[in-house]
């Protein structure tokens, strides 16, 4: 069994979101970087759980990013995984990123490709679906449980009206969310081992961008909370009906 886990570097969930250079660039000043939580807690840890069940499993990590992404990759390797590949590109065009990862995926002939359900910076939830289309593989999104039965994955996923379980033949691309695995923290042995695990850097292939970011904006600040007397709920109802017009 060979598994590829896609890892993205994102600002910490509590990071201040601000922009520079005329609102065209994310302000990285003072930002703590983390592994995108869905990639770490659910995709990577699920891969590690599968390797614990079957130690012959090989886990590769892949990220698209510049050298400053390496501390994040080392942290991921400290949790688990055998080696990592960094594609040396700072593209933020989903299609470009998916094409780069697909190139690595084709070379490695993986049985399962895991992604998180989305990244917490661009929130596009696109890479898994795009990869499946480029690689002509089935795609299961929003998975919260997975078991393997030889060459078949039994996956439970979220759907609009609840959950459903499906069977899919490998190879497959799966996007992971809460429920898929239990969150862990790296231990000292893992951190030491990660220092010597291979981290390969490859140059990106040429892909013409399909999108480009023109500018960022932050939403207008709320004008301030209007406090309502707890003894006067008729007034709150009136405000919701006549002022906010939401009921």
């Amino acid at each position: 069994m060979k598994i590829l886990v896609c890892i993205s570097k994102t600002p910490d969930t509590t990071a201040k979101i601000a922009f520079t250079e005329g609102n065209t660039k994310f302000d990285e000043n003072g930002v703590q970087w983390i592994i995108n939580p869905y990639d770490e807690w659910y995709a990577l840890v699920k891969a590690i759980e599968l390797k614990e069940k079957d130690p012959s499993t090989i886990i590769h990590l892949v990220t698209v990013g510049m050298a400053d992404a390496e501390p994040i990759i080392r942290k991921a390797l400290a949790l688990g995984g055998d080696e990592a590949i960094r594609i040396n590109s700072n593209s933020n065009d989903s299609f470009n990123v998916a094409k780069q990862i697909a190139t690595v995926a084709k070379e490695g002939s993986y049985d399962i490709i895991f992604t998180g359900k989305e990244t917490i910076d661009y929130n596009s939830a696109s890479i898994g679906s795009m990869l499946s289309a480029i690689l002509d593989m089935p795609f299961v999104s929003l998975a919260n449980k997975l078991d393997l039965n030889e060459n078949t994955a039994i996956v439970r996923r979220e759907i609009e009206s609840g959950e459903e379980t499906c069977e899919v033949n490998l190879p497959v691309v799966i996007s992971c969310q809460k429920g898929m695995a239990e969150q862990r923290i790296p231990n000292m042995r893992g951190i030491m081992a990660a220092r010597t695990k291979p981290l390969k850097v490859v140059e990106p292939i040429e892909v013409s961008a399909t999108t480009s970011i023109k500018k960022f904006d932050t939403p207008a600040a709320k004008s301030g909370v209007k406090l309502v007397d707890p003894a006067n709920m008729d007034e709150l109802v009136r405000l919701l009906k006549e002022e906010a017009k939401v009921i």
């Binding site: 989903s94 459903e164 379980t165 960022f216 932050t218 909370v225």
Partner: protein, 320 residues
């Protein structure tokens, strides 16, 4: 032509797809072109009625096997239908199915994608679509550089627009690729309003002290016709089911009204609800950070305030 993918769940057209239809119709008007809907599977709704949401034409591939999501199959059919109709823009609802299918369709059409769009594109100089980023804490304006564009529009960000149209329905006869997944078990959540579709949501946090106290919240939700939600500690403690958990790691929602009861408003919770149009916070702690993100606040004991609010709502409804 603008082609809008109309998604279904349990053979019923989703509200988010009707919003996508209204969005597509407005976009077609802006671009001066036609707009059509694409429906896959068997649905109970009258398809000609999609005209009331702006469709001029409805393409329908009627086959039961398409009622459940198989991204490989659905994306392939949608891409073929889009090519056959010479679509220049394909619109999806950014819901569970749309999020899964739209990126694959964009690859097949070699089209740039904006996923999670929040408004109509600016087409004065190019084709620039605004989308929410950083979990609702910012917007990005994204230029699509390709001749064909794919847009997935956020739920509840573009209202339904009523049109006085009847759409013509054309049955499509496209080959259906072999299934890539097999559904073996379905666990439906019965009788509840799905959170992502709900326009009114009542949500509870640790301030309610225990699952036995949820009655006051359920009464309020019932009086309003609202869906119920909860914070992460509540679902982690199994006071409420996991599918009710809204926040960074749970469901992200954008209802018209979000009433937060006994929720302090941690940044991870706000990331799941900050696109709500109106936020009401009920908390006995005046320092709760949630008040900073609220439109209306009530500083008081939830066990008194919530039943009083329910009574006031019922009174308003009986006078209406």
């Amino acid at each position: 032509m603008v082609l809008v993918y109309i998604d279904q769940a349990d053979q019923q057209i989703k509200k988010s797809s009707l919003e996508a239809m209204s969005y597509g119709a407005a976009l077609a008007k802006q671009l001066g072109c036609e707009v059509a809907a694409l429906v896959l599977g068997t649905v109970q709704d009258n398809l000609a009625d999609l005209g009331k949401n702006g469709a001029q034409k409805v393409y329908h591939l009627k086959n039961e096997s398409l009622n459940t999501l198989d991204v490989k199959v659905h994306s392939s059919i949608i891409a073929t239908a889009a090519k056959n109709a010479n679509a220049t823009v394909v619109v999806f609802a950014h819901n569970i199915n749309g999020k899964a299918i739209a990126p694959a369709v964009s690859v097949k059409l070699e089209a740039g994608l904006v996923s999670g769009a929040s408004s109509l594109p600016n087409t004065e100089n190019g084709f620039v679509v605004t989308k929410t980023v950083f979990s609702g804490k910012a917007f990005a304006s994204i230029q699509i550089e390709t001749p064909i564009k794919v847009i997935a529009i956020n739920q509840n960000s573009f209202g339904l627009v009523a049109y006085d149209n009847t759409a013509t329905v054309e049955e499509l006869n496209l080959p259906i690729p072999p299934a890539s997944i097999k559904i073996t078990k379905l666990e439906k959540v019965e009788g509840e309003i799905p959170l992502t579709e709900a326009s009114l949501v009542v949500s509870g946090g640790r301030g309610l002290k225990g699952p036995e106290n949820w009655g006051i919240l359920l009464d309020l939700a019932k009086a309003l016709g609202a869906a119920t939600a909860c914070s992460r500690p509540v679902s982690d403690s199994d006071w409420r089911p996991h599918h009710e958990h809204v926040g960074q790691t749970g469901i992200q929602i954008a209802p018209n009204l979000y009433i937060a009861i006994g929720i302090s408003g941690a940044i991870q919770h706000l990331a799941g609800v900050n696109r709500s149009k109106t936020i009401v916070v009920i908390n006995k702690d005046p320092e709760a950070p949630f008040f900073k993100a609220a439109d209306y606040g009530v500083v008081g004991d939830a066990f008194e305030v919530v039943p009083a609010l329910t009574t006031a709502i019922l009174k308003m409804k009986s006078n209406a």
